[in-house]
Subunit: 371 residues, 2 copies
């Protein structure tokens, strides 16, 4: 195997693929990055057996071949090279020789025959949407994914696709975040809903790799697997098995109190209250809403915080308490100027969403502290 | 105690003083920040008993007094306030009420009478130099301070002052860094040398607080203590007791080989070699210098790195090995385009310094690997 390529392009490819490297690989070969000559340059592949990322780097191939090189070390070395042209020559003992400017680096690899091969999923449906939109959708729900693995399915994000909508849902038993995007997805039949649960970690890695522009991302499905394809990169991954919670049943459809509050003011007041709530260990804040305004309080042995804000209240006055972290998490993700909260009682799930926009919706369970 | 001040100015003061807060305070009162009304506004003091930092914040004082407030929580709360004017009212039970925009925060404090008082050191000598120079000098030697506390004196930085020079020295048994600044220091008699050893941690905190401009820093000494005064801030600290190593005796005065190398090229080659050296666990690189050039090598089970660089060599060819970290540390701190290394043999201390400038000098012990 013998080829030359640009140092920076190779580094970009390695940085992308190596996101699939596990920090605790099950066997030695999984610490490696697979390099293969193809007609479209060098294919770079990393996998942790659940998630596989492959990407391509332009190269002048002088001799075909493939090799598995130690992933982290190879990436770190390429990062430190001087730039410009790099020649990589791999002998029949899988030893690679890297030549760039005054550097000659010898690196022992493993045979590509040992590398686990994932079949390309036999996909039957696919949807395409702008990368930036998917990136934003993931970022706006992924914080609500369960970190506790006792209910494995909740460590995933539900991806629900109909002919007219892509929807992401994450929930952990205390709160739920939902984000949807309208569109026309021709592969999906009228009345059909594709439902898959993607590991939260895979979605976070995807969000990091997606670009901030509108170039397309194509998502394709088979029974148990998914393929994400964008630019020169493909991610394959194994979906979470099992049925997701019937979340629609817990979405409130009515309200008795509705409060409209300036988002940034609300966020800052919550942040101050949270400093004291954290001291108090219970992480609790109380909200008291009347026509006069919103009063937020938190307390601890060391003192208390009392915040008074303007609000527009429709319906009944209400006293309600929350785990402060659940409110900060969502407020941080609302870019709109005003935020709306809807309540039916101080013991039932409350809704938080941008005031004029229902494509992002957050549900949070209050803490029972009032009679 | 009742005063008003600007939120941002108070935050700046608290951020400065709280650098003296210990992460593991010996008693509760040391978690606190002492606030006192004075004729120059509010004096803010923090101490860990070794290092004391005090600074001033402009304020409109309506009622004199003093209080000790919980340091971290108070600083965090002020950081999150909306900005503008803050009123602080402390009652006779040491409870502070902070009022700013819609926020009212109650914070339980402790009596200022409990706070440990440090006498101002009875200083008899002082020198003044530009803050930016001292900042740079500290940053260029502090990495060589010993981290191992078995020889406590080496965890400090030697500060040596004569009528014409301020000098900082740090050494850890394997390497030494020296930086000096010429000047005229009138308080020091001709022939006299002031020698003090300042804890490395204090010097690092000082470097973070010093400005990058030429406003003055005044250093004053008593027998066992030092006062550092700059802008509105004073740091007092206890010096390390004991005698510092007679480092002048180990400074080589001659050389048999002298190599001049481009600094950044050398640094990058060392970085690549260090990646492989780290894999090899011994962290070792070898240097082979002849009229032909400099060859740097490192190896591990996974492979090896071979770097060839131009150099200008005077004197004998030499083969020598180093702990790679000791070379990276110093190269990172040399801003000049070319660096000079001087050797007497491959088992005696080698000198590294900017090629045309002897005010910064670094000494490193080679590793014995050659016959």
């Amino acid at each position: 195997m013998l080829f030359t390529c640009d140092v920076q392009e190779l580094l970009d490819g390695l940085s992308t693929a190596s996101r699939a490297l596990s920090s605790r690989p099950a066997k030695q070969i999984l610490e490696g990055v697979l390099l293969e000559t193809t007609e479209s340059g060098i294919r770079i592949t990393c996998t942790d057996l659940n998630l596989t990322i492959e990407t391509y780097v332009d190269a002048t191939v002088k001799e075909e071949g493939q090799v598995v090189l130690p992933g982290r070390l190879f990436t770190d070395l390429v990062r430190k090279l001087s730039g410009g042209l790099l020649e990589i020559n791999v002998d029949d003992k899988n030893i690679a020789y890297l030549r760039n400017a005054g550097s000659t680096i010898k690196l022992s690899g493993l045979s590509a025959r040992e590398y686990p091969r994932m079949d390309e999923p036999d996909t039957h449906k696919s949807v395409t949407l702008p990368q930036s939109k998917m990136r934003d959708m993931i970022n706006k729900v992924s914080f609500a994914v369960a970190t506790d693995e006792t209910r494995l399915i909740l460590t995933g994000i539900l991806l629900e696709i109909t002919q007219s909508e892509v929807r992401l849902v994450a929930l952990d038993g205390f709160r739920l975040a939902m984000r949807r995007l309208s569109g026309t997805y021709a592969d999906v039949a009228a009345g059909e809903t594709i439902e898959t649960v993607v590991p939260g970690k895979v979605m976070s890695e995807l969000a990091k790799l997606l670009s901030t522009d509108d170039t397309p991302l194509t998502i394709s499905f088979s029974e148990s697997r998914m393929e994400l394809s964008f630019g020169k990169t493909k991610m394959y991954n194994v979906l979470l098995a099992g049925e997701y919670i019937r979340y629609r049943q817990i979405m409130p459809t009515t309200w008795t109190s509705r409060a409209t509050i300036k988002t940034r003011e609300f966020e800052r007041a919550i942040e101050r209250a949270s400093l004291m709530a954290r001291e108090g260990k219970n992480n609790l804040i109380k909200m008291h809403m009347t026509q006069e305004g919103l009063v937020i309080t938190s307390n601890a042995e060391l003192g208390d915080v009392h915040e008074k804000l303007d609000l527009l209240l429709e319906g009944r006055d209400i006293d309600i308490a929350f785990n402060v972290r659940y409110l900060s998490d969502v407020l941080r993700n609302i870019d709109e100027e005003t935020v709306c909260m809807r309540f039916t009682s101080n013991v039932s799930p409350s809704v938080v969403c941008p005031a004029e926009w229902e494509d992002y919706l957050y549900l949070v369970l209050p803490v029972r502290v009032f009679e």
